[in-house]
Symmetry: D2
């Protein structure tokens, strides 16, 4: 970490990350667009998830797998924006605490990288329902960064 | 645990669990049927995931979120079969280690409950590609069981 | 959560929590005092760990188990301060990401509760070397709160 | 994994691993010997923990941190035995589910490696009280293997 200066980050703009994701991950839009990257920053990213019928569970709550996909995507976007498209990070570990049942509304996920090393990146994600400060899910993830 | 005798488990048959899931979780088939519960047993369950285009990622690998949904579903089915449909368990924690990239083939998930208490159930899931013994993903999960 | 107002928290003062820990957990000082609770607040607590020879590993780094004990203790203190000594929370899950090797110096752990429900509390801990902002370890924990 | 044949594993004998741990980790015996490596095998290891006063908690139960140290040590030993002392693996992630309160007795930990790659090793540990089959703790861990 000692050689990474936050002032150099991120190395990709929001538009560049969006272009990359469109090109390389069209599957993230399977079933209709619902994951929207809103911002990238130094060691961070923010993604919105609009809710569709297919994300809901009995009782009108957003499904766990939808939130898990959201967490993985926003962490991936944060790493991509901050290391550039030179290497494709591979998810090695994801851990989730489900805190409250979200209502049938959109979600906002804020990712923050806790470590951005040469071989591993680790980050956390806080997910809340839109317009609320109460977290519905907290996640941590580890990604392996292939050799250049 | 002291009052649960394995000989009393599971309390629901495979057909009963399948009926329950069809009725209560039609969303698990959103986009087409791919998750198939194959067996339930004492503190255990097995589920198959057929792969569809929407589950794939660049390079022809099954996506992480598809495997996470599979792990959550098979653990839920194992708990349901072993405590009965009296209460709906709620996922509180899921943790995943992604071990190898699966090929573009179906997956088999074996769930085993490590604890089945009155308030909490904890289990692990081993996921392999069909016809292979090498694990592609290992998961653990904790579920909160509401008061009767 | 809806009935807990942050303005009512914590329900125990730092002195009360310290008294309780001295009385109920003398083992936390086995081998010599090194864990010092410094503050409790609404859904939070801070604990310092002085380093002793027995906490070190080859290369002069603080051992993982010392950090794990620190994380568990500070989360426990945060819960205790915020629910009171009416019930003894039981650790059900702890998950750690080790981010950088700490030097042979003391550590500071900041705990924040993400959820304080009637049955479960969930929190996260950020651990840094004293005088540094770089995290050496990040932890999340879940605690079961027995019925009153 | 494709190049590692189980018939070649482990690459170190129990005596060699014990010698290495004595030499490189004398701190594991701080406060008195209680962790005893009993066996190493292909992708596996077994370690016993004798209980001492300093490992106990109120109610006569073995402390969580003692079990966490045990899990970390037995996974480390399993990796060491199977890759040899050429590189020192570094713990990057540990995740624990505490399943039952152990009594005031010794523990046995069985480690199994789920993946032994060139850069990462992942394993799980099952901990039970001596003479019992009921797990008291289940852990998973990830270790980074430095370049040769």
């Amino acid at each position: 970490m000692s050689t990474i200066l936050p002032s150099d980050l991120p190395v990709m703009s929001l538009a560049e990350v969006l272009d990359f994701l469109e090109r390389e991950f069209p599957q993230m839009h399977a079933g209709g667009r619902s994951y929207h990257l809103e911002a990238v920053g130094p060691l961070s990213a923010r993604m919105r998830m609009d809710h569709h019928e297919r994300h809901l569970r009995p009782g009108g709550t957003v499904s766990g797998p939808s939130m898990m996909a959201l967490a993985d995507l926003v962490l991936y976007a944060a790493i991509l924006a901050n290391i550039g498209p030179v290497a494709l990070a591979v998810t090695t570990n994801l851990s989730f605490n489900f805190l409250r049942r979200p209502g049938a509304t959109g979600l906002v996920a804020e990712a923050r990288l806790l470590k951005l090393g040469r071989r591993l990146a680790v980050g956390e994600v806080a997910i809340a329902s839109r317009g609320s400060d109460d977290l519905v899910c907290h996640a941590t993830g580890t990604y392996s960064i292939p050799p250049a």
